[in-house]
């Protein structure tokens, strides 16, 4: 979705003021319409994949509860709608989804939306903080490296980027814990908040931020490494373009040229990658949540897959897809804002 540019053959359509707002709304409408079949595809594919997996939550549930009576099992199958053909189960699920009913988690004995909503804020917080860190560090490092090409700083950025790109996030997470929690005692080992500590007000926020630092570093530095490399090459490429030469000829300072002209245009590839990587950031959080005992959707997804808790797995997939779609729409809008010449189709 992000970065689908207008045909190079067609001249860029320049939009200004209210017409840009209209273009943005048009894009938003188009993306929302496209999201419907996309979501349908996500639901159908995930539903079918889950059906193909051996074992079911009912089998595991009856196993754990030592239920062997065939009549009881048959009653449970009927109760949970497992007697229906698969296509009918799918239709019923989609119909329920259209009414924002994500189903019921019989394993946890709560509605699916309740099960997920307990965990989703933690995952979103981790995702947002990691992406923010990745963008801030990655863009800054890329800019520095491009401005100091073939110097110590350029080498430092390259080596650091290579290291964080190559280091597995779970290993990095454990190393960060060992250094900052176990050896130095500066930061908590895991969890989202101090158990029994202040949970509201500024104290609560600070406590969460304190717990957020290490997981954010472990997840965000990988993406920062990517952004730094992309940003460096993009900056160098844009710096060679005619409009930059023109800006310099006009007498603008180096910093003015870099920040106002080069940086803004060089950000486009980074924004493109950002949109594409939203899904992988969500997936990466599953691993990081495990290392840091972060109570997010990742741990819930892991448990749900392990217990064949299909309603919850599907619910997470659907909500995860919504998050990724929303992020991509946001990226498209940012894209338009960064480069008014571009109208994304």
């Amino acid at each position: 979705m992000a970065g689908e540019l207008a045909s190079p053959a067609a001249p860029p359509r320049i939009t200004r003021g209210s017409s840009r707002r209209v273009a943005a709304l048009r894009l938003l409408r188009r993306r929302l319409i496209q999201a419907v079949p996309l979501m349908l595809g996500v639901v159908v594919i995930n539903f079918v994949l889950i059906q193909l997996a051996p074992g079911s939550f009912l089998e595991l549930m009856t196993a754990e509860n030592q239920v062997s009576d065939p009549a009881t099992i048959a009653l449970l199958r009927t109760t949970y709608g497992l007697d229906d053909p698969v296509w009918l189960q799918l239709v019923k699920y989609i119909w329920a989804l259209m009414r924002f009913d994500f189903g019921f988690s019989y394993r946890q004995n709560i509605p699916v939306i309740d099960a997920i909503s307990v965990h989703l804020p933690a995952t979103l917080l981790l995702m947002i903080s990691s992406i923010t860190l990745a963008l801030a560090v990655g863009v800054a490092a890329g800019v520095v490296a491009s401005m100091k090409v073939r110097t110590f700083w350029d080498t430092l950025v390259s080596v650091a980027a290579m290291f964080f790109f190559a280091a597995p996030s779970f290993w990095l997470g454990i190393m960060l814990i060992v250094l900052f929690s176990v050896k130095l005692g500066w930061l908590p080992v895991g969890g989202m908040a101090t158990i029994g500590g202040t949970s509201s007000g500024a104290g609560g926020v600070l406590d969460i931020l304190h717990h957020l630092i290490l997981p954010t570093l472990a997840l965000g530095l990988f993406y920062a490494a990517i952004y730094a490399r992309v940003m460096r090459s993009s900056m160098l490429e844009v710096a060679q373009l005619d409009f930059v030469r023109t800006a310099r000829a006009k007498g603008l300072s180096r910093n003015q040229v870099t920040i106002s002209h080069v940086l803004r245009n060089a950000l486009l590839p980074v924004v493109t990658i950002l949109g594409v990587q939203m899904g992988t950031v969500l997936a990466g959080s599953v691993v990081i949540e495990s290392v840091f005992s972060w109570p997010g959707v990742g741990s819930l997804l892991f448990d749900s897959v392990s217990s064949r808790n299909y309603p919850v797995v599907l619910g997470i997939m659907v909500l995860g897809s919504l998050v990724v779609i929303a992020a991509n729409i946001a990226v498209d809008l940012i894209y338009m804002w960064l480069d008014p010449r571009i109208e994304i189709r």
């Binding site: 074992g55 030592q66 454990i174 814990i177 029994g196 290392v291 840091f292 005992s293 217990s307």
Partner: protein
Amino acid sequence: MGNDSNRVTRRVFGAGVVATSLAGVAPSFAQGTPKRGGTLVATWGGGEPQACYVPAGGGSSPTFSSSKLFERLGSRTMEGKFQGELAESWKPAADFKSYTLKIRKGVKFHDGKDMTVDDVVYSVSEIWKKYAAASALTDFAGITAPDVDTVVMTFNTPIPEFFFSSLLCGNVNYIVPKHVYAGSDPVTNPANNAPIGTGPWKFKEWVRGSHFEYVKNDAYWRKDLPYMDRLIIRYVRDPAGRAAAMEAGDIHIGVFNPVAPPDIKRLTGTGKFVATPKGYEESVWSTTLECNMRNPVFAKREVRQAMFHAIDRNFLAKTIYYGYARPGTSPIYSPNKEFYTTDTFSTAFDPKKSAALLDAAGYPKKADGKRFAVNLLAAGWFTENGKIGAYVKQALEDVGVAVNLSVPDRPTSIKRIYTDYDFDMAISNQANPSEPVPSTTQYFTTDGIKKGVPFRNASGYSNPEVDALVEKIKVETDPAKRKALVFQFEKIITIEAPLLPMLELESITVASTKVQNHSNDPNYLAATWYDIWLAS
């Protein structure tokens, strides 16, 4: 701690089995004057439970979380003696068809209501009989309360006293509040996620994905206990994360193999932690190898014995379990002081004997060097099972048996082993208590063949002699005669070899040296931790 304390066996993902009792080792980790107050943070080697309390058990995880909130009628000491908890005493009738229990007075539920005989009657008839102890209560006839502190449990057959006492100590054979559960479906009752029990700890909060928070029960019937104000049970999925949290002082105690073996050595090496195998005597885990009799090849006893002779179990114990396992010699495990015997048939490692047995059974090596092929399934709930599977594959191929190994995840393993019987040989696990009926015997009796129910007779082994013997064990009330019958059962099973008790596993608790009065209950899962405390 000696060297033995520095080793660990495996990581645990709860496979639920009712465990009752095993005689234990003398308690330790108690010294000085108990310090009151403070918060104990604990963890365990498995994941977060699906509910805080599951009436049928639901695996080890909910048993661990609920055992601090609920209590049983009885328990066992580290010396193996039965003692009263919510029951003060119990005694059998002359014909052993009924037992009279005196129920403790002055016990209150966490909501302030008195625990009465009505709660006991309800719990036994509606929870135990239908969920928690259904397989053990097949001959249960009823329960009555003749007065305010007495209940009488009656049975259709004579019930041995050891069996009955073990029943009272069953892992999740709790006394639950009738006023909370009556008229509801106990499985889906919302109170399962915020239980109201009589235990030393009261439920305060469950932060899903993170921890349970329990607070001291000020009205606990044991005077002036518990010592501590608060108990936190934290769930940390990653063993390395658990080790780091313990080292950083965030977690005081971890039970059931909380960290990897190298971390145990590192933690105990600091002098700030101890590691102990105590506290698991009533729930000894084992790794088993069972043969599927539905495959005509395994219908021959010689073939089954040959398979077992091909496996070097000492090698498995040393390499895969870091020495914290030992070869099993009987379906009753060696820590079981009541019923374990060494007078059994040995299927020790002997590849030549294995080959000879296969030749004699009519399966000589063919031109390609193979005798026949088997599908070996290693249940994926323990990572070690997959490693054992890889070894067993090589060992069997050495004697000419082609092996197709698969290591499916937990739900698939349960389905393939216990529902579809889709295996020729399966590496699985058990956690058996000292009372052999039905926990151990149901792996071998015909009535243990229950399609879809895990940790029962999946091999399809059916032997009228064994069935009759188990029926006798069930009703023999003379302890000496009963013990002799169990010994006979062990001998027959080891000769018949439908299932090889491949390894007895040893579990480990790692605790800060500040934690006192831990590992003093032979059943770590059911321990209420009423007397645990944290030194300065």
